[in-house]
Amino acid sequence: MFELSPTDWMAIEVTLKLALYTTLILLVIATPIAWWLANGRAPGGLRTTVQALVALPLVLPPTVLGFYLLVLLGPAGPVGSTLENMGLNHLAFTFQGILIASVIYSLPFAVQPLQQAFANLGRRPTEIAGSLGAGRMDRFFTVILPMSRGGFIVAATLAFAHTLGEFGVILMLGGAIPGETQVLSILIYDHAEAMDFASAHRLSLGLLIFAFVVLFVVYAINRRFDTVRL
């Protein structure tokens, strides 16, 4: 029942790779932003501005984002043309291009839960760790991070998921190149539009079961540590 075509497999691979890279990059980028937003000493106005900016991709329809990114990253755009002048390729219709798009697109989904988690911690854990001789980085990794585990899990799942579910941006910017930019959402859409409902069903159902299993495992693991609280 679940024999998938090579195209299907390629799309699965691209999708997972995209979601994984996006999530990893986002955790690295979003963590300091979220921390700064939650605890920064900058004046409130600046913080609010940055926070609103970070949240912008939230409210921009993916097609808008895709549209502007295409212009930006394509050969005529500032980024794309710079790359071309450096002898590199522009980024439209490349994996890197949709990766950049995904990162921007999902940024707020990673920042917001982290910011909430950091804000919830309050200052006390930092103060404790500091009084015990832990410097900034040290206490971040040994106290803040484990204590905001819940926030990181929400941020990671939302970012991962939001990337999996990305469609509009990739439709605009990706070009459905098998093995490079043809992600599952595009492929399933394609199957459905081609009235190849059997393929669409097969892929969707496979995805559904896979997703459910992954989520179940993540949550089951997480629940085991669940009661740890300040």
């Binding site: 760790a129 015990l132 410097g135 204590m147």
Partner: protein, 368 residues
């Protein structure tokens, strides 16, 4: 100025909050235990936070010996100050076990600086059996002990303890206090201890800092603090009088005369007392140990019967049992003497300001 600074913890800070202003300029000697004593809300925790660097009011100066912790643009962050901190609400790191909490700072202390170790501290605090517990599976007192142990295990240069024995039962306290006392004596770690318990002050402190309404009103050796009748330390035990006078040689009953003839006490030589004759001495008399008689009773077991004039009669600060009266009397040598009486006897004797009477002093103690 700086020469006096080099051995002390100098704090000069102002901090304003709605309805509260802290204004401190003091130097606390960096040896032994300094008790920080004061009413709820007077700013003790805030002062500790300033010393630790958790609050940094602009313009404040904090010098630890020769090291500027905060001064102008200089600001040494908390984790470089090597300060052992026990917060008033003993918060543990919830994602670590008890052992993890205890060792968190220990691991971050250079090996050469470690003067205290896990086993010893855990044992003394009675938490050895809890080591593998999760931090949120402890009782209040257990949490507090872990927090204390954690602070000790960084072998700090300065201990800031904010009511660290608060949630502990007397017996546990009694086990921990000598340890803390020895710690300060042996390792010389200077300690600032916030406490509301006079007993902890008496047992642990070398000096007492009295705080009131955001100001450090007085910083004095424990001895002096105990000697003052109005010391807030004694609010606990009721009123106390402290008399100043000359101590004579023991008589044939091994009793020593104290004070001028018109207010002469005969004081038994307590075993262990080493005070020589002819010296100025101070006598501490609990108001509860003083009774009043209108005429000097005869053939009574009480040795010391001192003529006095009653000056004031006030309600004694809350005490269980029937309402009590605090009588302020003046001895004929001019020194005050407090007596705590029942309402009943005050009435029966018709005591009033101005009444001449005799104070029957049951028991006295030297402050040496």
């Amino acid at each position: 100025m700086s020469q006096s600074v080099s051995n002390g913890l100098r704090i000069q800070a102002r901090l304003e909050r709605s309805g509260f202003a802290l204004d401190v300029d003091t130097t606390i000697p960096l040896e032994g235990v300094t008790a920080l004593f004061g009413r709820s809300g007077c700013g003790k925790t805030t002062l500790l936070r300033i010393i630790a660097g958790l609050e940094h009011p602009p313009g404040a100066e904090v010098h630890f010996g020769d090291t500027a912790w905060q001064s102008g643009k200089t600001f040494v962050p908390l984790h470089r100050r090597r300060v052992g901190l026990v917060f008033q609400e003993s918060t543990l790191l919830p994602h670590l076990s008890v052992r993890g909490n205890l060792l968190y700072g220990y691991k971050r202390t250079p090996e050469s600086m470690r003067r205290l170790h896990l086993d010893e501290v855990a044992d003394l605090l009675g938490i050895t059996e809890l080591l593998e517990r999760r931090a949120d599976q402890l009782s209040g007192g257990q949490r507090q002990r872990v927090a204390l142990g954690r602070a000790l295990l960084i072998s700090p240069d300065l201990l800031l303890l904010d009511e660290p024995l608060n949630a502990l039962d007397t017996q546990t306290k009694r086990e921990i206090m000598p340890f803390l006392a020895r710690l300060s004596d042996r390792t010389g770690i200077p300690t600032l201890l916030v406490t509301h318990a006079p007993e902890e002050v008496e047992r642990l402190a070398h000096r007492v800092a009295f705080m009131h309404d955001g100001q450090l009103e007085r910083l004095e050796p424990l001895r002096d603090a105990l000697a003052r009748a109005d010391s807030p330390l004694f609010r606990e035990e009721g009123a106390v009088s402290v008399l100043q006078g000359e101590l004579g040689p023991p008589d044939e009953h091994d009793l020593r005369p104290f004070g001028p003839p018109e207010a002469r006490y005969r004081v038994p030589t307590t075993p262990g007392s080493t005070k020589g004759a002819g010296h100025q001495a101070r006598l501490r008399i609990d108001a509860r140990d003083v009774s009043i008689a209108l005429s000097p009773p005869e053939d009574i077991s009480i040795l010391n019967i001192i003529p006095v004039t009653i000056e004031a009669l006030d309600e004694a600060p809350g005490h269980h049992g029937p309402a009590r009266i605090l009588a302020t009397c003046r001895q004929d040598d001019g020194q005050p003497l407090m007596a705590e009486l029942t309402q009943l006897s005050t009435k029966r004797l018709a005591l009033q300001p101005g009444t001449r009477a005799h104070a029957l002093v049951k028991s006295v103690a030297f402050l040496d």
